[in-house]
Subunit: 430 residues, 2 copies
């Protein structure tokens, strides 16, 4: 379906970071065919963007989208009680149906807050998460977080990952498989090395939680005499297809190692604050060292939202705070973290340019975005999901005038599934 | 006009902090007449809240609402360049018309993000800000921030404040006058003492910026040998009708002084991060010491939004981060800061109880607020203006199905005024 987006303020995120007042024509296949003034083509869908910003969709490089089913579950507990008493016992009972339901609620929230692609790590229902991504039209890079503790073996875990790779092939081009290990404290060095080897062979992304808490690093130093990043470096894991989630408790040397490898850091500022992990990732220094800095929300269980506009604001403000320097990072860089840098590592479009597939959102200039002295600052510091009117992922409409098609029916079904799951869980406990 | 809000999940914020599924009946005068099941009264307006949270409006205890006209103006400059080269030269040229325009945009944003009362300090156009509050139906406590530096005299400044007091009397009960001094570094001790004396005599709120930056405190110690709060204590300014904005660079003894006086701290976490002031206010300790902790957005020039839901999230998360303790403050306390504690010091309703005027918002359970394991956590960590459907201030509707009446016309007029102002400003510079 050819689409014409008329008269928007286009934040292209192209190499020159141009902002132009223009029309955008998408081909039947959803490719950007033309960007220019007064395009006079017939199109099946015409979006009036005369009071709107048209920009690339936001890219969330670390989340557990299905965990939206746990939003607000076990709040106010210290971390280990929260995990041990609430999340892990419930996760042990997960069904494919409830994972799908959590993914549906999470993806609807993500789409309506401007996200068009996410990098997922979870431990169950990977097929259902892929199904949800396809049905709701959002790009998803999906991996099963492998861990070989307790009765879990390397072979069993690798089998899960082979399944993910096969399953992704049965889905649309929106869905990509990736390979992940949960963390250095839950995956053995043998598993991590094997996983990265497979990722290299298959040319897939490798994704891992690392150096999230001080405890992670202290344990690693006690056991192995090095920090968590240096440990991964020694395993040969750092390269430009590796996403390091969190990476906040690190040494200066480790920042340099990440930078030299051009690895990606996925900074999750809100989750880090919420779980009181104590360190704000050194994204200013990572970027200077050559790392690819990107942003993530983490799961809604520890955020508790999937709003990437909010994540940009937290990321920008926390760097200013960390360095006591109001102009530590230009606003443009923050927008880049959430668009082009994410796109680079996930291999998805993150700028509006002729010839690229359209991953585009149309953001209304609601009162919170007025006046318009500085569009980029408005997007980072003053936006909210209230402004997101249209979303197009891989050239197809996902959000239409602030609604996901069939949204209410999908939500009701998902919530029934989630409620049923918790009823059964509580009944078993009683 | 009698109003019936049907079947909402009512977060009452009453003394027991009850959450009930109920109808709410408002009298013709906008007073809460009944809260209960299946109220079967005729009402001119019936709001179906069956998929909504009904809660007190949020109360912003420190802002410069008219500064919304400067949103994004001079971004990315260090603090002193920003003030000296951008904000102050522009503020010197302010007209009543452009102040009104800034206030209109700011109030529309505030209302649509759930705020029903704000505590304003500004330096021009006080009458126009009051007019805007009356026209848009929001509660406003208005003060002119007095300063006697340069050619400005105490008498001249006090005259401005007398005018504010008289002007407020010409406005509706939504508008209250207050008395403020800009800050200890711009107002002399004589002016501060005089201002507080007048506030006591007139039984008005006293409002002042204090201990916002390390520089403020270092200068004060150099000049007077005490910190900023201790200085105000020595001037006799601390009591339960004083609002201390920021108050982040303080000693333990100063926290005790604020607590013993039951003074109000208005914590502005986002502005503090944005201006890289370096300290996060010790609201956990202030509260323990007996202070009345409240929240503010500061102006949109240094935030850049007026979204109190966002401010609750920042405030909650920054305390967790500051103390490396995920459960440092119960979520309920954060909601209290933004409602009942603000209401206490501003003298406005902040709970839903029979006999009180209705200052109520109706928040739709949009996907970001689902599932509903924990309503309070959802409100603090997962809300956004996208969910705010209705707002009622002082018993009258301010936001109706996500729209301020006549919103587009008002915005267009305000933006024309703001654009004209900046065109003239730039022409004068050229």
């Amino acid at each position: 379906m050819a689409t014409l987006i008329k008269n928007g303020t286009v934040v292209t995120q192209n190499a020159k970071r141009e902002i132009v007042k223009a029309d955008i024509l998408l081909s039947d296949e959803g490719v950007v065919e033309e960007i220019g003034k007064d395009i006079d083509e017939k199109a099946e869908l015409v979006i009036d963007a005369s009071n709107h910003i048209v920009m690339p969709g936001l890219i969330n490089t670390h989340t557990h989208i299905a965990m939206t089913l746990f939003r607000g579950y076990g709040e106010g507990l210290p971390l280990h009680d929260w995990l041990g008493k609430k999340i892990w016992p419930a996760e042990a009972k997960l069904t494919p149906e409830v994972v799908k339901a959590g993914a549906v609620v999470g993806i609807i929230e993500a789409l309506k807050s401007g996200t068009t692609a996410f990098n997922e790590m979870y431990i169950a229902g990977m097929k259902e998460i892929m199904d949800a991504a396809d049905e709701l039209n959002i790009r998803a890079v999906i991996s099963r977080g492998m861990f070989d503790v307790g009765e879990h073996t390397i072979d069993e875990q690798m089998d899960h990952t082979y399944e993910v790779i096969e399953e992704a092939k049965k889905h649309s081009e929106l869905v990509q498989a990736a390979i992940s290990c949960h963390a250095p404290y839950t995956a053995s060095s043998e598993l991590i090395a094997k996983a990265k080897e497979l990722a290299r062979k298959e040319n897939l992304l490798f994704h891992i939680h690392v150096a999230e808490t001080r405890h992670d690093v202290v344990s690693m130093i006690k056991q192995r005499g090095v920090g968590c990043i240096e440990y991964l470096y020694n395993l040969g894991v750092l390269d430009d297809k590796t996403v390091l989630a969190h990476a906040s408790w690190v040494s200066t040397r480790e920042i340099r190692l990440v930078g030299q490898a051009h690895a990606t850091v996925s900074h999750n500022p809100i989750s880090n604050l919420k779980l009181a992990t104590g360190s704000i990732a050194h994204i200013y220094e990572y970027e200077k060292a050559g790392a690819n800095v990107t942003l993530g929300t983490d799961g809604a269980a520890s955020n508790n939202s999937l709003n990437m506009f909010e994540t940009m604001k937290f990321a920008a403000l926390l760097q200013k705070h960390k360095y006591w320097k109001a102009d530590i990072l230009p606003d443009q860089r923050i927008l880049d973290f959430a668009t082009v840098n994410g796109g680079k590592v996930l291999g998805v479009p993150a700028s509006i340019e002729v010839g690229k597939k359209a991953d585009i959102i149309v953001v209304k200039k609601t009162p919170n975005l007025l006046p318009e002295h500085n569009i980029i600052a408005n997007l980072i510091y003053a936006s909210s999901p209230v402004s997101v009117e249209w979303s197009i992922a891989n050239g197809k409409v996902s959000v239409e005038e602030r609604k996901v098609p069939n949204e209410e029916v999908l939500l009701e079904k998902a919530l029934n599934e989630i409620n049923l799951f918790f009823e059964q869980l509580n009944a078993e406990k009683a």
